[in-house]
Subunit: 206 residues, 2 copies
DNA sequence: ACACTTCCATACTGTCCGGTATAGTCCGCG
DNA sequence: CGCGGACTATACCGGACAGTATGGAAGTGT
């Protein structure tokens, strides 16, 4: 039941925002009433934290599913990048929820700490992918950490832009941005192949 | 008086967030009471809009002051970039206020429209600087608009990172990021000069 | 002096919402 | 069977706050 409440909270927060969703609504969405909700959670803050945890776990699960079929380090990196960019551009719920969390983080140390831990795990995830691609000679970047930091920052920015420019929310832009981000990472082989042989175009993920 | 109320609203919103600031507080900050405030503005929404307009005007004024002393296109671009990056990293009020506005934009079309107009004006500002630098042969980028879009996105992302990592809020990181952004713009001369002659180091703004 | 306008202060109103109190139901265990 | 614990539903509470009503003050024009 606590997990169902957390899911309901996430679902509602990610559509309507945190302030616009009251506890009666979360409880009803989970099929119970507010009394039950208060049995499991002490406060709205605690429910918000539960929704965050739900989101963090879900993100990790989804991105791992995305890269699981691939062994090539650069392919894995590309897939992960593609997933992230797609999430930023097309996943409106992700946008709403994360923005709400950021704003809450401004004044709530606990929420900030939670996001920071999540961000650290995402960073380690990407550094791992990048180092593997680097070891395989597919990426050339002087400093993996810094490159990943830049990448993550760029993706957050892109997410914001998508909020204000719905035309960005397309597969074409997604591909464009993914390539741009790969370029900033110092992708060596991808670029050359693209310039030399148009058949790599067909190789691009859909 | 309306301008004083808008300034008060901005000052308070940029420190405490929009939800955490009630109208009594804004009025008191401006030296009046809520009745006066309601004489000038119809609703809290209208006061939020006034605070936004105040912020937008202030931003344009400040960045123009920053680049006014310089004639060289690349120097102007660098100064503007430096100002923006500094604002993102060090100006906490800017961070708080803009994040609050983004979150409000998720569900409020009027706020979203306002920011979008502001963003368009910022984009045009940077495209203007970039084109000038390009015409002077100081910048090499295939598509100014796209480059500026990427730049603006990156800056928003950096602002978010600064929220979660206070160590980023330093002049060293500011310089590092500014250089990185210049690199993504296709800055030709700056890079070469830096590699060839250490004296350009002293030329770097403090 | 009076009327009008602009602006302001104060008290009030009603809604919303997080949180609480209390009673009820169900299940497992001795 | 009785009891305790986990869970649930319902009614209630009090505070917060945007917005409203009303009266007052000051300035201006006739």
């Amino acid at each position: 039941m606590p997990e169902r409440l957390a899911q309901s909270a996430f679902a509602l927060f990610s559509r309507h925002g945190i302030q616009n969703v009251n506890l009666d609504r979360i409880a009803a969405h989970a099929g119970v009433t507010k009394g039950s909700l208060y049995w499991h959670f002490e406060s709205k803050d605690e429910i918000i934290q539960a929704a965050c945890s739900h989101y963090y776990r879900s993100w990790h699960r989804r991105i791992n599913v995305e890269i699981a079929p691939f062994a090539d380090p650069l392919e894995r990196l590309e897939r992960a990048l593609g997933f992230s960019v797609r999430t930023c551009l097309l996943d409106k719920e992700n946008r709403v929820f994360t923005l709400e969390i950021f704003t809450l983080s401004l004044h709530d140390e606990a929420v900030r700490r939670g996001w920071r831990q999540f961000l650290d795990s995402v960073r380690e995830f990407y550094v791992g992918l990048l180092e593997a691609a680097r070891a395989a000679g597919r990426i050339k970047t002087p400093d993996s950490r810094q490159a990943v930091d830049f990448l993550l920052a760029a993706m957050e920015g892109i997410k914001l832009q998508a909020l204000f420019d719905p035309e960005l929310c397309s597969r074409r832009v997604e591909k464009q941005i993914s390539e741009q981000l790969l370029r900033t990472l110092g992708c060596v082989e991808r670029r050359r192949a693209s310039a030399a042989d148009g058949s790599s175009r067909a190789h691009t993920p859909r």
